[in-house]
Symmetry: C2
Subunit: 371 residues, 2 copies
């Protein structure tokens, strides 16, 4: 893996970069659509390319339970399995074990839990999770971390942060694939002092990249932004920074301004399934009767397949009739919207105009940018 | 509309033709995937083209209830609404009124029924149904017919057949669009004498094309084939013949052999959603554990997007995980399979080799072909 910062924005921490992974290059800041079960819901790999996607996220927890990492390994790894030849980052499964699985019990060795699918018993330790992702063959693997619930007391967050660090060291000790990057995860909830200590200790372990974890889990969005703004500068400037699992278009602009390079989020894909379309004029909620005979495209400024071929009226009809094509068309549009936003941010940084661009998107001056 | 028989097969009633409609040409025998609600479930219009589709069927009953024909009319008609620029045939809704709607009551004027969606009261008469399809702007409209349940007593079938004829005459009397063909429907259940009389009387009314209706509704498949073989020759050789709503690949070969030109069926699309794939080696049922790590494509002889990019193992995984992409990929394959079968039949007729081809598909001599 290599990462080059091509340009640092003036007046903000935003930066333009190029991340080179085993399966190709990614222009950063980049957004990774979420292929939870090895598929971005409703989109083919060629659809994803057409929507401007260079890199995907998939989920080790879900794939380990179904169809099983060994199955995917026998079939040549996750890229061959899902027909995606670009870079893939796999989440370690830590977040899902704590948020989705049943009866998760943490001990120093790792986590015992039961599958949310069939109740079967499983164990994830830091070493198992490295091996799991090595079997999947993703370009970037994440370490296992303990993820306390949003709003947990400080001592719980501190204990989880410290355990995550010990697990991170164990993960590094067993990593064995030269063609797979491993990212560490900075924890610490919304406590800036805990975050700073976690960042220092995680960086001291020496990872290929660094993630901010445990955010977008129910805290106020201003708290999310504050953590990112305060913590990103503590991470090495020459390593990619990945914000895990958030956000709205506004979040992404603010987080890029804090120097974040990589994003994933289910919002564009989940909103699509719920009939909510991101547009340059705000969110179009298809169930609203006003769209019943609206001949306009979802977004008149968008050049995606959906917007160049179908009206809001048709998209509303498909959504109301629960037609499978609704998922595909809406997701194509929302992913295109997110990728377009990333492209615009990259272009703005390149043109030394990110501040102006951000003000245009956010409709306000941004005061909190780090120097 | 124009229809030319380009070649008559030797030794069977199969024929190669070209149907020219307002929105383009269709090579016959042709298969129309079913876009019930104005969408072939999971496929975009460009997917449909890629799968070899030239013409679609959509459903006046479903579209009249949701979003409403007037809405579609205001948006420029069904082609513009659904983004399909090729020919569309709309079913009249007769079959759905009798099979799907609630409390259908037939009187000479037409049918009163309640929507299966919300219980609202509606009336379909032959004139209303012509106007409905003229508003939709399909290339081919079907007359309203009374569809008794499969296995109904002879007197019920006879009365429905006679009423359908009176309705057909009323439909012809009010048709008003020069750019829309109207097809009559031969009824009569599995009674060959009733079928013959219905064919004679329907042809006497003078339609652009003729359909066989009320088949594939639970009767033995041999009875279906016998009706088609006996009735098709009673229809004008220079008009297209359309078999409504059936069948398996074997059915299609037998019906083409009887001189049928047009087909529609939900089987390839519905089977796809149920994880059953038509292949040159039989039906692949994806839930079978044997496919868990099967690296082969669904059909090694198929060149569709699904078969050239994904394994049975991946398709099984998507199906078991209920991923929306399963619908798209499976449907792409099954529609490609059906369109490939039609293309092979057309090529076999053109090469004067339809008999050999049919024996190859059916694995037996076909004795029942009309001369």
């Amino acid at each position: 893996m290599s990462f080059r910062v091509l340009q640092q924005a003036a007046g903000s921490a935003a930066r333009l970069g190029r991340l080179t992974l085993t399966h190709g290059e990614v222009a950063t800041p980049a957004f990774m659509p979420v292929a939870t079960h090895g598929s971005v819901k409703g989109l083919t790999p060629r659809d994803l390319r057409e929507c401007g996607t260079e890199m995907l996220l998939s989920n080790a927890y879900h794939l380990a339970l179904r169809p099983g990492a060994e199955v995917i390994g026998r079939l040549g790894g996750l890229h061959a399995f899902m027909g995606w030849d670009g870079p893939i980052l796999t989440d370690s499964g830590g977040y899902q074990v704590f948020s989705l699985a049943n009866l998760a019990r943490v001990r120093e060795e790792g986590v015992d839990f039961r599958s949310h699918l069939d109740g079967s018993a499983h164990f994830f330790g830091p070493e198992e999770v490295v091996r799991l992702q090595e079997t999947l063959g993703s370009d970037v693997a994440m370490v296992l971390d303990e993820c306390p619930a949003g709003g947990a007391p400080r001592d719980v967050v501190q204990a989880a942060t410290e355990r995550s660090l010990r697990w991170a060291a164990r993960a590094l000790a067993v990593r064995g694939r030269a063609d797979q990057a491993v990212f560490g995860i900075v924890q610490g909830g919304t406590d800036l002092a805990l975050r700073a200590e976690s960042a220092r200790a995680t960086v001291a372990l020496g990872f290929d990249g660094y993630a901010l974890g445990g955010l977008s889990v129910g805290e106020a969005r201003e708290a999310t932004w504050a953590v990112a703004a305060a913590t990103a500068p503590l991470l090495p400037a020459d390593r990619p920074r990945y914000f895990m699992g958030g956000g709205t278009p506004e979040d992404l602009v603010r987080l890029v301004a804090s120097g974040i390079d990589l994003f994933d989020c289910v919002l564009p894909t989940r909103h699509a399934r719920n009939g909510a379309l991101f547009t340059s004029a705000g969110v179009v909620v298809l169930r609203h009767a006003a769209y019943t005979d609206d001949p306009r495209p979802a977004d008149e400024r968008c050049s995606c397949y959906t917007c160049t071929h179908f009206s809001r009226a048709y998209l509303r009809h498909l959504h109301m009739a629960r037609e499978p094509l609704a998922v595909t068309l809406n997701t194509m549009h929302n992913v295109t919207y997110y990728q377009g936003l990333m492209r615009e941010m990259r272009a703005a940084i390149a043109a030394n105009a990110f501040g102006t661009f951000a003000v245009g998107v956010l409709g306000e001056e941004m005061q909190a940018w780090p120097a």
